[in-house]
Every structure is written in structure tokens, then in C-alpha cells.
Amino acid sequence: MIELLKQKKKRTNGIKHCEIGWQSKLLSNSTYYRPCESQVLRLDTTIFETSRGTRMVHDRPDGRNPNQLRPLVCARGLLHRADGSARWSQDNTIVIAAVYGPKAISGRRENPARAVLEVIWKPKMGMAGPSEREAEFILKRTLEYIVLTAMHPNTAISVIIQVVSDDGGALSCAMNAACSALVDAGIPLKGLIAAVTCAVDKDGVIYLDPINKEEKEFHGHACLVFPGKPMSSFAPAGLALDSEPIERGIVTSVTKGILSAEDYLNCLERSRAASVKIAEFARSSLEKAQRGVELVVAS
């Protein structure tokens, strides 16, 4: 019944009005229902409208608003024995990716037409189990899409992901790190990718880049991977929206939990916008790394 009341609430400016309005409605009701503390409108939450009606947005433990990403840091070339390496951190979620290859491979695994991509996921603690295998498979399929494997037949490209600390969104962090490491290794790619995680709570409010606590509390979350550039080498020509060429494709989508179809489409929209920011950041960090990678690369 409280949900019904909330749905009928119109958008108001101040918190005070809401409270009064709510209470007055309550008093007029014949059966008296005292809401418990957790359901009372807190002074520091806001109400906003979505297509489904007004929603209450819960405060995030780290004080971000729902559309805000965590601060991103990317470092390249940290492991000198690996052909390419990158460390991608989103606040407390830190992942290191190392790329070895293309290198020789023998036996039944070798493919005479293309390079074989293998991914190894090492969790922070404990042995690798089925969830790690799943992450490896997802990463492999995503990276196979961007790596030009036909250029190096009879070889193997190994990507090793080491989770240094996981505070939510480790899979998308790993995707971004793996992409940066592949660029660092000088392996030819079709384009870059940008991965975002977003969580949806039971009211349909979307929170970008959730931390571990939020991922567990909310109904469902999705890890979505988009191509890096709007006009990239993925989409076939001719896809346009309002005569403006926009990349409408998605590379990978991994969802966990309960998401309605509408929630999922909202997630897609929101994440696409966020992925543009991440792609810009990755590109600018790459340019900085190019300037400083060698002292002199004279002709």
C-alpha cells in the first residue's frame, strides 16, 4: 500500500511538502498505518520522475549520484616481461591485465587460419572456480571480436587478468584493462571497447558503476560493453539515427538478477552514454602514454 501511495506522488520541489502531503493522505485513510523507519522519506533523498512514475533514489554509500562513475585511473606498461600490460582502477576495484603474444603454439590447439586467444582470470584469493571460468569465456568472446586474429595464424595470444581488489564491477574493469593491454602490446585491433556496469533497484532506478554492496542489495545488474568510437569499424555502414551516424551496436551484455525489459533498455541507454566517457578517457590516456613511452623514436 505504501508503494501505491508513492506512485501517485507528484513531483515536488521541497522535501517538506512531500512529507506533509504523505502524512495527510495517511490520516485520511481509515486504517491507520504507521510506516516503519526504513520507509519514511529521508531528508537527504530526492524524488524524481521516470516513465514509470516517481521513484525514490537511495543515497549511495560513497555519496555519488546515480549517473556518476567512480574516478578512473589507467597505467600502462607496468610489467616489463609481458608484451603488453595495463592496470585499470575504478576507485577500489583494481585489475591488472597482461598480454603475451602473438607467440608460438603447438598441438591440437593451434589454428592454421587465425590466432587463438586464451584468457586466464586469477581471482584475488583462492583458486579459480566456475565463476572465474565464466568470466574467462565472456572476456575471450569479447576480445575475439576486436582482435584481428586472421593476421597471425598459428599463434596464441594470452591475456591474463589479475584482480588486485574487487569492489564491484570487476568484469567491466577487466574488459577495459584487457583492451588497454592489447593496445600496449601492439596487437592489431579493429577498434577499442568500453565496458560499464550498472545496477537496477526494484523501483527501476539505474545506478551506474555500482560498488559491491550495491550490487548485492539491488535487484539486478548488467555489464555492458560498447565499441569505443561512435563511428568505429564494427557497424555496417548505413546505421543512422536522425541523419546522424551513431553506433547502435553492443559488443557484450552480461546480466545478473531480475531486470524487466524496460529496465534493461534504460540500462542500455544510460550505459552507452557512460561508455563514451570511458572511451574518451582511455583514448586520452593512450595518447599520453604514446608521447612518453620512449625517450626518442627518431626517424
Binding site: I187, K190, G191, L192, G228, Q290, E294, V296
Partner: protein, 325 residues
């Protein structure tokens, strides 16, 4: 700036040294001869060309929607109609005619597998080596059984790339007297993109009595010059004057002075690679002479002070004389 650590060499720099290194880096960045910032491109960046149809698309490029995009992140190189993207850091790419230094990893049927820091192990066919005695004949079964007498596992050889096949496999050959097994020296590994293809890869430094082979794959071999070794009359008797030298796997004893020279040269190469400078014989000799003239002990050559000094020397030389490497 953190401590300079490049390719495994760690340098602890004091604050003043860090400042000096940073200044040298700035000078070098502005010095003529560098790539213009507009030449750098990232993956999926469009490359500006006049007419896309007439341009030859080289490595690192792809065409989409009539636009030339980069598949690698690096520098755009244009030679006439050929447009390629050269990545700043990548594994060694073997080309026909490259002189390489490699290590035998496996002895197989009629071939050896050699490790040359390439994507795959490359092959050295039995028919592509010189038989002892220099005779040209068909390789028989006995030759196959005696492959180990020529090259064994973990031997170092110098060879030339004979051919690169479409499936990525590479074949080497040692069909010249100057190629073959390497002894009496030290191997230095540098990143392969620091070594350019030159006319001469075999260098003889008479003043130091040292031979140097700069392999295109980043393996550099420094050894005592052949003339400086005590001559072995038995070997001369066996081989005669037209045959290949006897593949002797024992290292002979070398004098202390020559050994010091070898170590000093090796360290100058390591310093140059730590700074990211291109490896040319001139720069190596220059660093070598600088270390001698400044009286730097061989073990101090891998220290922070020498590193900063070499960076400063290069920066001053570039900016002063418009010196293009």
C-alpha cells in the same frame, strides 16, 4: 616521476638527478628529428590520405567506408604511395634478409628450431647450413644423425632470415662463412624496436679487439675478435683455407683487457636501451668512450649517475648541432 625502470633495470634517482633527467627528456622531445605529434594515431583513428583508392594499404591499416583507419596505435609512415602504421612497441617482425642472433631450442628431423624473440620458433633447415669442410653435397641420412655435432640445444648462432611464409613461419640460413655458432662472448637483449636495419650488422672494433653482431631481433652479441684469440694450429690444419671453421663449442681463454672491453660495451648497450635510444654502433662506441674518458668504473655504468649523464649528452648534442640520428 617515479624511479626509472625500463626493461628490468631499476634506477634509484635522487631528486637532482630526476630533475636533470626530466630536463633532458624535454629537450629531446623538442629536438628536431622527432616525429611530429600529428603523426601519432590510435586504433580506429582515420589516417588522412589524398586519394584512398590509389594508396597502398600497408601493415596496421584497414579500410572502412572508404576511409583509412588504423588498427595499431603508433606512428604513420608514408613512403610514396605506401601508408603503414608502425607501432611503438611490438614483438620482432622477421623480414627476409634480416641478420639475427638466435638460440637453438630443439633439434628435429632435418631442422633445428631457433628462438629469435619472434612470435613463433623459427626453423633452420639442415639443407640451409654449411657442412664442416665446406663441401657441397646432398645431405644424407648420416648428416641427419650427426646434426648434434653441428648445433646442439642452447647453442647461440648468427643467421640470416631466408624466407617468411604466408602462414607466419620463418626459415633461416647460415649459408655464409660469417654466420654460424657463436663463442667467446656475451649476449645482450634489448627491445627489438630499438634496432634499425642497417647495411652492416657485423662490426669489428679494432681498438677494443671486440666483434659485435647487432641482430635485428634485439639480441646483440659481443665477443672477442677472432684475430685477437691465440691461434690454434690444429684447427687451421683441419679446415684448410676454403672450408668452414670447425664448430668448436669450447670457449678459449681471453685476456682481462678484452673481457673488460666486452663488459663495458655490454653495459653501454644496456644504458642506451634503458633510456630508449636507438642502438647504432656509433652511439654504442660514443657511450663507451664517454665512460672511459669520465673514468666511470664498469660496475657504475648501470648506476643512476651515468644514466643521467648519457641522457644529458644526447640532449645537448641534438639541440646544439641539429644532429639527426
Amino acid at each position: 616521476m617515479e624511479d626509472v625502470s625500463s626493461r628490468g633495470l631499476h634506477f634509484q634517482l635522487s631528486d637532482s638527478q630526476r630533475n636533470r633527467l626530466r630536463k633532458s627528456r624535454e629537450l629531446l622531445r623538442e629536438a628536431p628529428g622527432n616525429y611530429h605529434p600529428s603523426a601519432f594515431v590510435n586504433i580506429a583513428d582515420p589516417i588522412h590520405v589524398e586519394n584512398e583508392a590509389t594508396v597502398l594499404k600497408g601493415h596496421g591499416t584497414q579500410v572502412l567506408d572508404g576511409q583509412l583507419l588504423a588498427t595499431l596505435s603508433g606512428v604513420v609512415e608514408r613512403v610514396d604511395q605506401l601508408v603503414t602504421v608502425k607501432p611503438l612497441r611490438c614483438r620482432y617482425n622477421a623480414e627476409t634478409g634480416d641478420v639475427v642472433v638466435g638460440r637453438i631450442t630443439e633439434v628435429g628431423t632435418k631442422r633445428w628450431k631457433v628462438d629469435i624473440n619472434f612470435r613463433q620458433d623459427v626453423h633452420l633447415m639442415l639443407s640451409a647450413v654449411n657442412l664442416p669442410g665446406g663441401i657441397q653435397r646432398r645431405r644424407t641420412v648420416i648428416d641427419e644423425l650427426n646434426m648434434r655435432s653441428l648445433f646442439e640445444e642452447n647453442d647461440l648462432i648468427s643467421a640470416e632470415v631466408q624466407s617468411v611464409h604466408s602462414d607466419g613461419s620463418v626459415h633461416l640460413h647460415t649459408r655464409s662463412l660469417k654466420y654460424g655458432k657463436l663463442t667467446n662472448g656475451q649476449l645482450v637483449k634489448v627491445p627489438p624496436y630499438l634496432v634499425k636495419r642497417l647495411k652492416q650488422h657485423f662490426h669489428n672494433l679494432k681498438s677494443c679487439a671486440v666483434d659485435m653482431i647487432i641482430g635485428c631481433n634485439g639480441y646483440i652479441w659481443i665477443c672477442a675478435a677472432v684475430d685477437s684469440l691465440p691461434s690454434n694450429p690444429e684447427i687451421e690444419k683441419i679446415t684448410g683455407d676454403s672450408g668452414a671453421p670447425e664448430m668448436d663449442s669450447c670457449n678459449e681463454s681471453i685476456s682481462l683487457k678484452v673481457r673488460e672491453n666486452i663488459c663495458r660495451l655490454a653495459n653501454s648497450i644496456r644504458v642506451l636501451s634503458a633510456l630508449g635510444f636507438l642502438i647504432y654502433p656509433d652511439t654504442i662506441i660514443d657511450t663507451f668512450d664517454a665512460s672511459i674518458s669520465k673514468g666511470v668504473a664498469i660496475k657504475d655504468m648501470l648506476g643512476a649517475e651515468f644514466l643521467v649523464m648519457i641522457a644529458e649528452r644526447e640532449a645537448s648534442r641534438r639541440t646544439k648541432n641539429n644532429y639527426m640520428l
